[in-house]
Homo-oligomer: 434 residues x 2
């Protein structure tokens, strides 16, 4: 499909300037971003006689920008939204989440992931970094729906193949060459669910493929204390001492990193993926984002799974990143809107190793969204980046495009989806597992 | 207009049950809420032959519930959204807000309040508790748009008639008998902007009319410390000692109330109006909501003005009320979803003295909203109240009705509004004042 967007405001995220002009998409890539005044010259420059547009979309002054990158989630957990709330992390995991997850199979996760994808699209999320139980059916759901998905294994000491080293290696070899929407990284659940032997094997695997490694990290104080009791050091130091981070990667949550941990993050160029909604709802604490930024650490944002958040909404996360930093630092100037917007877009692309999705520019992937500025919460137009972070909402997402395909537009999903059937399946599955 | 809603889920807020049935509106009131199975019997019971419906609306299983009550706002401040951010409260007020407010006139506030009203409607807010500079034009904007508005005076020591005792009395006498959408209460800006003499006069006025009084209260630590330095006691104790709270009322913000302050709130049946978005963005702190609930204090929720929040979104506020309480108490079970939903509805009605807007029941005002459950963030339907608080969003507001009039439906505003003209005015005004 060749699609021309005209009469647009454009925030490329290369800088904070708002460009008035056009954006052209050819296939799954961006062909042109510019003021659109001399299209003949552009055609010539692109060595095109002219373009037959499949669609020409009048943006009516609305904003085009890169889609949001949800850098940590467990999509299949839509099942457990509002199922078990108001419990501390350990009770929530062991008494509610793990028992019901034990009954879930790959087909269920396929349908539940589709439900999550619908929600990502309503929030302008164009790529997800997903850790869950059945990589095949998560991959299938993403390909079937058109969602860009970086999967990461959730290895743990639980005695099943799904979370084993062998399975991880198998998926690593398969899903980095299977479909342009998919990629796969080595990851493990967390220090407290893995044996030392497994962690050493993770390091070996990372070395074998010169691959980055990702894990839940320092989510709660209890997790860090437990690791110190077991190994005499924090999880970050433990993993680094084992060589797990020798080829980069990062940590999800990172609420409790100390100076030395941060130094490891800086030295290894690891990414912090912050999950403020989940950390708030589970009372885990407030991550020291200002300190990470001062250190020059790459900070991206994830929603975490819909069981602990409970929504998959990058606007809520963006407000929480800056709001909670302001509360933590007692400083209303902490972590300004522009920093947050970078976290939700370019920093996410870096953390997820999707360099072609970071900004809007010629040759980049056409993963982009249109923000409705003709809504009262976006007016007046004093400062569009601040409007997005401080007053933006899902209701402002007018269009979500992934790889050149429009999957959500004007409140309607792509015709190819049977939305009510997806809702029906989710309710049927939870009813069957209660 | 007679409007019949059928095929609805109904959360009356009298309790947490979800009723499947119908809701009928006649004029500005609710005529019937029930299962709708025996309509002939209902007609007879209502002593109606039959009803000619102006509209019959198939709710398609979506949820009807009372509209949200925004129990503290400054609507005219839409002008300053994203205009001055990332500053502490005192600098923000004195260096940015006050200078530009000094240039605003009543006509500007009329247009800017209309912009705010559009946003309230998108968030399912059906009544506002508004403190601002020109009560006449705020009232006019609300009547012209159909918004229910409880105004409160913002008396202060600033030497203008708008914020004087005389003006407050004038408005009190006028706006409680002017239009069914309007009411008016005695209020003052805050201890730190009023002289002792003015505070004493406020108490006299309250006694003259046996009227409740409302004010910004204990928003920051510095405010409380300043009052203690000036008067040897907290603002709450000062106001109570002067007799200001003898006929009830309440405080906006209330981040820093001590045990004795809470005891005054309990004894005088005062309402706490919490403003978590604003307190977060201005780094003011986290209010002790759990303690207020333990004391049996009525807690309502306000967005505060759009300059300090920056959006007028009750869904964001609801998540923040519970989320911040969980962080403050280090307890993921603090302030559960149902408590929050009551704060946003029935408790707001109590704080704003709008008893006929609290629940959906025969004879109550038809101030109600329809929540779109056919959205991915509302699925599966494990627990609808929890879905609303933990994953709800403006995009779920399918309809907003105030006093029997549908003002927002399926993403469109009432035809009577010229929405683009309202946006244009807001931009024109800020450009003229820069």
């Amino acid at each position: 499909m060749n699609i021309r967007f005209y009469n647009a405001r454009i925030l490329t995220m290369e800088n904070a300037d708002i460009l008035n002009g056009e954006l052209w998409v050819q296939g799954d890539r961006i062909l042109y971003v510019g003021d659109g005044t001399d299209t003949e010259a552009v055609y010539e420059q692109l060595q095109l006689g002219s373009i037959l547009w499949d669609r020409e979309i009048d943006c009516e002054g609305n904003l085009l920008m890169p889609g949001f990158k949800d850098a940590h989630t467990h999509s299949g957990m839509t099942l457990l939204r509002s199922y078990a709330d108001d419990l501390p992390l350990q009770d929530w995991l062991t008494k509610q989440v793990f028992p019901i997850e034990a009954k879930m199979d790959g087909e269920m996760i396929y349908h539940l992931t589709k439900l999550a994808i619908l929600e990502y699209l309503t929030s302008g999320i164009t790529a997800i970094f997903d850790m869950y139980l059945t990589p095949e059916t998560t991959a299938q759901a993403c390909v079937d729906m058109g969602m860009r998905c970086v999967q990461v294994s959730g290895m743990s000491g639980q005695d099943d193949f799904a979370r084993s080293l062998e399975k991880t290696e198998q998926c690593y070899l398969k899903y980095n060459h299977d479909d342009p929407l998919l990629s796969y990284f080595i990851g493990f659940h967390a220090e407290y669910t893995c044996s030392r032997k497994l962690l050493e094997s993770v390091a070996e695997l990372a070395h074998k493929y010169h691959a980055p490694v990702y894990t839940h990290l320092a989510e709660t104080e209890a997790e860090v204390e437990g690791c110190v009791a077991r190994y005499g050091m924090s999880p970050t130091k433990l993993f680094d001492s084992l060589g797990i981070f020798d080829y980069g990667g990062g940590g999800y949550h990172c609420v409790y990193l100390d100076e030395a941990d941060m130094e490891i993050f800086r030295k290894r160029d690891l990414s912090v993926v912050t999950n403020p909604g989940s950390n708030t709802k589970l009372a885990s604490g407030i991550a020291p984002i200002s300190a990470y930024l001062r250190k020059g650490i790459n900070v991206a944002i994830g929603t975490d799974g819909p069981a602990s958040n409970n929504c998959l909404d990058m606007f809520r996360e963006m407000f929480l990143v800056t709001g909670l930093a302001k509360l933590r630092e007692h400083d209303a100037s902490a972590v300004d809107a522009w920093e947050v917007l970078k976290m939700a877009t370019v920093n996410g692309s870096k953390a997820m190793q999707l360099p072609d999705t970071d900004i809007l520019a010629k040759g980049r992937l056409a993963d982009l969204i249109m923000i409705d500025l003709h809504q009262p919460n976006m007016q007046p137009l004093n400062n569009i980046p601040k409007n997005l972070v401080y007053s933006g909402s899902k209701q402002n997402v007018k269009m979500t495009m992934i790889g050149g395909r429009i999957l959500y537009e004007n409140g309607r999903f792509a015709d190819a989806y049977d939305v009510e059937a997806i809702y029906g399946k989710a309710n049927e599955i939870i009813d069957s597992l209660r």
